[in-house]
């Protein structure tokens, strides 16, 4: 089919351009834009009427002018070519190879906005992934096919934690069916470098596909990058039957790019200027995690976001939490007290763990002990705030026990080295060691059967 080229624009506004007197242009189709000095950019139709199209230019509109810019509509939506050769490669936010290894050629081209998964076709995720991090495995267990974000703040060790999970996720070298899709959105060069080094050290680099949009790359590409990456993940998971872990960072930069675009379009802003459809937009990414009936592979997502001002009610963490299947929340206070990973367990949650732990998966006592740790630690927080008012010495004997339990819990259970890899037995045993410092009658979340079996009863002299 003949692709007509138009010369001249009606308007340029940031990454948006308006082309007039057009004919036969489709909503959402790809566009090729040629600047006056011959540079070629890509774009996408955002809105179209009988004689006018609004186009989003991926690399930004720098270098365009009104009268000489040439625009060609490409008659197809945005697609990426995919094959198993993408493993071990590095691409930019729109899926072009940047590692000098040449572009990917393949018959298989996939639309980056894949169709929604039919809820009837999903398989409920049940297999747990051992991360080797006690706080996660014990209290917010990650399940294969889950979307479990890390809510962090500037300067907190979310990258280290994400890298540690990827490294230790027990799916490493020996398992060829495992791969990581890493997508960077607006992160700094050294952060990207950190991830690359960590993949390299753990020897999984050949099984990592990277889509990298750095802080100084065009921000509109940030909106495309996770879609390209997830399309690759879907290809690997559902065509090649692999287990894919997708690390997406930083969702905050992604959302900011979306806000920028929305405000250029003059849309009615929602909370904090973010567009009203931010929820649906984020869902169109996060809901691409999961498993399908009758297929082997899976997509597990670990999105990372930095909460502006550490505020969990900010629209980005808030809407994310409303879509994902739980969250791992990092806390500055723990970080400052040198606890790594500084996970505040109380607001953290894994919604899928209920069906992926217990005798069939981890150990019979897991549900009870994790619920008890939550309840007891939450009491620790109350005691702490009381202690700060009346002083520790004035606390009742029982409350003092709780306080002691709390600090041991933080030092021995939460805290671990960046390369300490505890298996689930070790984590659960540790939990019982700690909880056994509390009197038995305070443990109302644990069944008597489990108490009999696991609680370390002490005789008169305090010996177990």
């Amino acid at each position: 089919m003949l692709k007509k080229e138009y010369t001249g624009l009606a308007n340029i506004n940031g990454p948006l351009i308006v082309v007039e007197n057009i004919d036969d242009v489709a909503y959402d189709e790809m566009v090729q834009i040629t600047t006056p000095n011959g540079e070629v950019k890509k774009g996408r139709v955002l809105q179209v009427s009988s004689n006018k199209a609004v186009v989003q230019v991926f690399e930004g509109s720098t270098g365009l002018n009104i009268n000489e810019t040439r625009v060609k509509f490409l008659k197809e939506s945005m697609k990426v070519a995919l094959s198993k050769d993408i493993l071990g490669r590095v691409f930019n936010g729109v899926g072009e190879a940047t590692d000098g290894g040449g572009q990917i050629y393949s018959e298989n081209k996939f639309d980056i906005n894949s169709n929604p998964i039919n809820p009837y076709s999903r398989k409920y995720p049940r297999n747990y992934i051992q991360s080797g991090v006690s706080a996660i495995d014990g209290l917010m267990t990650l399940i294969r096919g889950q979307k479990l974000p890390i809510f962090s703040g500037n300067g907190l060790p979310h990258n280290q934690l994400a890298a540690q999970i990827t490294r230790q996720a027990k799916l490493g070298k020996e398992d060829k069916k495992f791969a990581v899709v890493f997508v960077a959105m607006g992160i700094k060069h050294d952060e990207a470098r950190y991830f690359i080094n960590s993949f390299e050290e753990s020897g999984v680099l050949q099984n990592v596909v990277m889509y990298v949009n750095l802080a100084d790359d065009p921000s509109v590409e940030r909106i495309i990058a996770p879609r390209v990456a997830l399309t690759a993940a879907e290809y690997l998971a559902f065509e090649e039957n692999m287990h894919i872990l997708v690390v997406m960072t930083d969702m905050t930069s992604y959302s900011e790019a979306l806000r920028e675009l929305s405000s250029r379009r003059g849309e009615v802003p929602g909370r904090k200027g973010y567009p009203g459809y931010l929820y649906s937009d984020l869902a169109s990414l996060y809901e691409r995690a999961g498993m399908l009936k009758g297929r082997e592979g899976s997509i597990t997502q670990i999105p990372i976001l930095t909460m502006p001002n550490d505020d969990i009610t900010h629209p980005i963490p808030d809407l994310t939490g409303y879509i994902t299947e739980g969250q791992i929340v990092l806390e500055r206070d723990l970080f400052q007290r040198d606890v790594y990973p500084p996970i505040n367990i109380l607001p953290s949650l894994s919604r899928l763990m209920k069906d992926g732990i217990g005798s069939e998966y981890t150990r019979e006592d897991h549900p009870d002990i994790s619920s008890q740790l939550y309840a007891s630690y939450s009491h620790v927080k109350e005691v702490k705030s009381l202690a700060s008012v009346i002083g520790e010495d004035e606390l009742s004997e029982l409350d003092q026990k709780f306080l002691e339990f709390g600090s041991k819990f933080e030092k021995l259970f939460l805290d671990q080295d960046k390369d300490t890899n505890r298996d689930i037995e070790e984590t659960l045993d540790l939990a019982w060691d700690l909880i056994s410092d509390l009197p038995e009658h305070e443990l109302d979340r644990v069944s008597e059967e489990m108490l009999d079996k696991y609680y370390r009863r002490k005789d008169e002299d305090g010996e177990t």
Binding site: N115, N118, S121, K123, G270, G276, Y279, G290, L395
Partner: protein
């Protein structure tokens, strides 16, 4: 010749077209060459604005718009129960067959299976004059629901033709009726009804019976009536979906319609995988035999999300008209409101509060007004619709427009509390912020069916909880030791109520469902303990003696150690308590 419009503008799900004279407002139309489903939402001279229920990617100005002549409707007939539909009643299993694991656009499927044959039992005779809504025939749709084929609401007449009992598919004409003006209507096994129009009934009745849910904090503290309305607001992870799932599993409605509106795909899968395995405590049959799912998850088209709520409630009204009690769960109404906002934004309408359109309160009111306990159209039976909507306030801040406006139209407010959820107190329903306006209407029922003193007991427990909250404010400043013993006893009793009664685990086999008598007895025993211990405080028996760990522990575990059928054990335990305190008193 069929009418044909022409697309002039496309912006996501909002499409404008010209040459649309003669189309009607809210008409179902097919948009573009690939015929996507759409609905006319605005008409201006020969221009129409259409909300499209599928992705419009690839569509061009100049493509056609086809008329259907009727509004967006659902097909009402056998085959609805046990099924899972999208927001515009397309069955997801059929979509899977046609387009695989990912939903492609422009796929046309029938809502109800046109081939399946149903065993029909005719219930009228030739010559009978049938009113609107009157029963014609019956089908055993599932092992627990008898499907009633009724005269559609806007028709009536004398039966002039009738098939015998037998097996028929839904398109089969089973009867013809002739009205007084000699109009003849064909009756098939299904009827169609526009989703935005409430189905008529003869009369609205008073609410007098509770919808029992097996959840202690709800049934005992904030009960909802059959035919009533409730909202469950709460931040993410507070437990809205879990609560709705619990209600879908255990409430004593005849039929559950669960609408997943803009929420997670896995939550629907969870229901699909779990419900067939669960048995209804009353009928012993699989839960799926009384459940209908509507799934328009967050990644599915936003305009179909807007429609899903209406699709669900229309299906509900149809079964209500057969004389059933229906409970509808909508998770989450906030996503529906946001869909309204998104479409309104694309229409460039003037926004009101937080970008929501000014008609948000009207829409919410219309929705909740479709709940109620009614006498059915032909006066043959009674049925009800209970509506329970989850609300997802941004930042868990209840002052936002959707929560506030919902509050105006519902009569039960089950407020989920983030801090309770954080300390894993589940269900995280805050007992101080929640309320039920049905207490008075339901009191006679509880008195008659549970116990005369039901309301007194509930109120005493409630005032203890209120007192405890006041005392906790003091404790936070000075510690517990400073309080006099009678107040410390209140703290202990409140702890028993909170842990032993209010907390209820959805995952525990015994605890997940507490029948109303068990609820009564646990609460009774806790307050009995209070009655026994109180006089001893006056006698200066120290709290440490009154709070016997063994006794308290046993009490706290009644909920998950004593099954519903064995409440005699709780009654026995009451005597144990009396004995214990008697013994203590004797020794002082």
């Amino acid at each position: 010749m069929t009418k044909q419009g022409r697309i002039t503008f496309i912006n996501g799900p909002v499409v404008k077209a010209e040459n649309m004279t003669g189309y009607i407002m809210r008409e179902l139309v097919y948009v573009g060459e690939i015929k996507l489903v759409g609905e006319i939402i605005e008409l201006d001279r020969d221009q129409a604005t259409i909300q499209v229920y599928e992705e419009t990617s690839g569509m061009k100005p100049g493509e056609p718009v086809f008329s259907t002549g009727h509004p967006l409707s659902v097909q009402l007939g056998p085959g609805i129960i046990g099924n899972i539909f999208d927001g515009i009643q397309r069955p997801l299993p059929f979509l899977e067959k046609k387009s695989g694991s990912f939903i492609k656009r422009g796929v046309k499927v029938n809502s109800l299976n046109p081939e399946k044959e149903w065993e029909l039992k005719i219930k009228v005779e030739k010559g009978d004059y049938l009113k609107s809504g009157q029963l014609i025939a019956e089908i055993d749709e599932t092992s627990v629901i008898v499907h009633k084929i009724m005269v559609p609401p806007d028709k009536e007449g004398e039966v002039i033709e009738l098939v015998p009992d037998g097996r028929y598919s839904i398109e089969h004409i089973i009867a013809k009726i002739k009205d007084k003006e000699d109009n003849i209507y064909e009756i098939k096994l299904y009827q169609e009804w526009p989703i935005r129009k409430a189905r008529p009934y003869e009369d609205r009745l008073e609410l007098s019976e509770p919808l029992l849910t097996g959840q202690r904090v709800l049934d005992t503290f904030f009960p909802i009536a059959k035919g009533g309305t409730a909202a469950i607001p709460g931040g993410f992870g507070a437990g809205k979906t879990m609560t709705q799932h619990q209600l879908a599993k255990w409430s004593d409605a005849d039929l559950i319609i669960y609408i997943g509106c803009g929420e997670r795909g896995n939550e629907m899968t969870d229901v699909l995988e779990e419900f067939p395995e669960l048995t209804d405590p009353e009928t012993g049959k699989s839960m799926m035999e009384r459940t209908v799912l509507i799934a328009n998850t967050s990644n599915m088209p936003v305009s179909a999300r807007e429609a899903s709520i209406y699709t669900g409630i229309t299906l509900g009204e149809y079964y209500r008209d057969m004389g059933y009690n229906i409970a509808i769960m909508a998770d989450s109404t906030s996503r529906w409101a946001e869909a309204l906002r998104e479409i309104s934004g694309r229409l460039e309408e003037m926004p009101a509060e937080e970008g929501f359109p000014a008609y948000l309160p009207t829409r919410l009111a219309e929705f909740y007004e479709r709940a109620g306990y009614v006498k059915t159209l032909a006066g043959e039976s009674e049925g009800s619709i209970t509506l329970i909507g989850a609300v997802s306030p941004p930042g868990a801040d209840f002052s936002e427009p959707v929560t506030q406006n919902t509050k105006r139209f519902v009569r039960c407010f089950w407020a989920l509390d983030k801090s309770l959820a954080a300390s894993r107190h589940f269900p995280a329903i805050n007992w101080l912020d929640s309320y039920s306006e049905y207490l008075n209407e339901l009191e006679p029922w509880f008195k008659k069916n549970v116990n005369q003193e039901w309301l007194d007991l509930r109120n005493s427990a409630m005032s203890l909880l209120k007192e405890e909250s006041r005392l906790q404010d003091i404790v936070k400043l000075v510690g517990e030791d400073v309080l006099p013993d009678n107040q410390r006893l209140i703290l202990e009793i409140a702890r028993l109520i909170k842990i032993g009664f209010l907390q209820q685990s959805a995952f525990d086999n015994i605890d997940k469902y507490s029948d109303i008598n068990k609820q009564y007895w646990i609460l009774k025993v806790i307050l009995h303990l209070y009655d026994q211990a109180q006089p001893l405080v006056k006698k200066n028996v120290p709290i440490s003696q009154l709070k016997n760990n063994k006794l308290f522990n046993k009490l706290l575990r009644l909920k998950n150690t004593v099954p519903n059928e064995e409440i005699d054990k709780i009654k026995d335990f009451k005597n144990e308590i009396s004995d214990f305190y008697q013994h203590l008193a004797d020794n002082y």
